[in-house]
Symmetry: C2
Subunit: 231 residues, 2 copies
DNA sequence: ATTCTTTATTGATATAGATCAATGATTACA
DNA sequence: TGTAATCATTGATCTATATCAATAAAGAAT
């Protein structure tokens, strides 16, 4: 958040592009660049809504956003998306609709690219196609972990999983600056906000976690891992 | 179950191959055929175990099988697989491991094909690759529906969803012959076997469902749809 | 600063659903 | 053809978790 991210005029020169683009040559990156535009979202703003047409691939270049399914009365956060990761929903290859919504948690910038270009490159470049399939597979594995956590673990285990997700996968730090709300934490763990808060409180009381303002510190990683394992 | 399924010696001539093979030419089907073998599983037999190396694509040619994650103390059935559908797990493109187990519910026959051939064809045939990606996308959408059903609906809604899944997607009939156990129904709906049985009983009492031996009949589809909707 | 609005926290209560335990009904099987 | 083994059913009890309600804290706005 200190200093603006560098905005390059060409994907080929971009130092912060998603690793999936590694398999693309200069010409292909040029194609991507042609149909690309850069957008800035303020924290809280919706990037796209579930049910609306899905015409663009979204690459997050700064900030933090969430993708979430608007279910029966409450939301389920499928993932948080940070630089330099992209959002490319399953509807693109089915009916060009969004099957989840996305919104900015922190101020976020993103590059949008027409999905048609993306699909064309998948057809013409087998390496790119394979990278894409690998990425889809990774997401599926992540979904599996999440559904097992949500359906077979109790609240303590689910909050433990969410804290590790935040620390290891999103903020990539241990004392980390928590930028998502308690409601988001709850939506990530499939429980009510109040329950999430209570679990955090217990973790604090047991010395597993310290919370100082927005600074979260997992003090006893081993114990928290165990809570994650034992449900 | 009456009469054996026709077993052809060549994929090109096979009348019961998965629709994904439509985009393959005779030569390509020949390649598939070369590395293919046909296996029969008895009801209850495990086809492959979560955690073991995943070397083959599995196409179900007769019978019914389930794919399920062995979680913390209980199983979650991700899907039932019937002819002519295939099993190709997300581990194939990641680390060649199975991330779920599969077992035969009814006596089941299947064609196995080395995943290397499959991956090669995905690289060489863009239509095939696209069909494959579409199929992955469909599975992802199905996962989304399932996770929302499991995490945001109460038991009645989840059993309703499972009954519609069985009737509409698996047995493709309304009075249908139930070949999965109550435990499987429970594992499909993320609840205990006892709870699943109790919900069935309530549905019977309310005239929504009739159960005569193994014959299930959804008597009031509209009402059951409503139960599915209202959680 | 002061008010307004959102977000976080805590407590009390209600309940969906699991678990345990017992029994009945099928199916395998020797 | 009876005995074991599995599967289905029902009831009683317990608990994890949601919901409701009230308050506190933290930002945002004027």
């Amino acid at each position: 958040m200190n200093g603006k991210p560098p905005i390059f005029t060409n994907c080929a020169d971009c130092s912060c592009k998603s690793s999936i683009f590694k398999s693309l040559g200069t010409d292909e990156l040029g194609e991507i660049n042609t149909g690309r535009f850069h957008v800035a979202y303020k924290a809280g703003e919706i990037m796209f809504k579930q049910g609306t047409p899905s015409s663009h691939f979204v690459c997050i270049t700064s900030g933090l956003s969430k993708i979430y399914i608007e279910g029966y009365g409450k939301n389920l956060i499928l993932a948080l998306v940070k630089p330099v990761d992209y959002i490319f929903g399953p509807g693109v290859y089915i009916d060009n609709k969004h099957y989840y919504s996305a919104s900015a948690i922190e101020d976020t910038t993103a590059c949008l690219v027409d999905t048609a270009i993306f699909k064309k490159l998948i057809r013409s470049n087998p390496d790119f196609a394979e990278s894409f399939i690998k990425r889809l597979s990774m997401q599926t594995l992540f979904n599996f972990e999440q559904v097992i956590s949500l359906t077979q673990k109790q609240m303590h285990g689910r909050i433990a999983d969410a804290l590790f997700y935040l620390s290891e996968k999103i903020y990539c730090a241990n004392p980390f600056n928590m930028t998502i709300s308690r409601q988001d934490l709850a939506d990530l763990s499939g429980m009510s906000k109040e329950s999430a808060i209570r679990i955090l409180k217990e973790f604090k009381e047991e010395g597993i976690l310290s919370v100082d303002g927005n600074l979260f510190d997992i003090l006893n990683i081993k114990h928290l891992k165990q809570i994650s394992e034992t449900g």
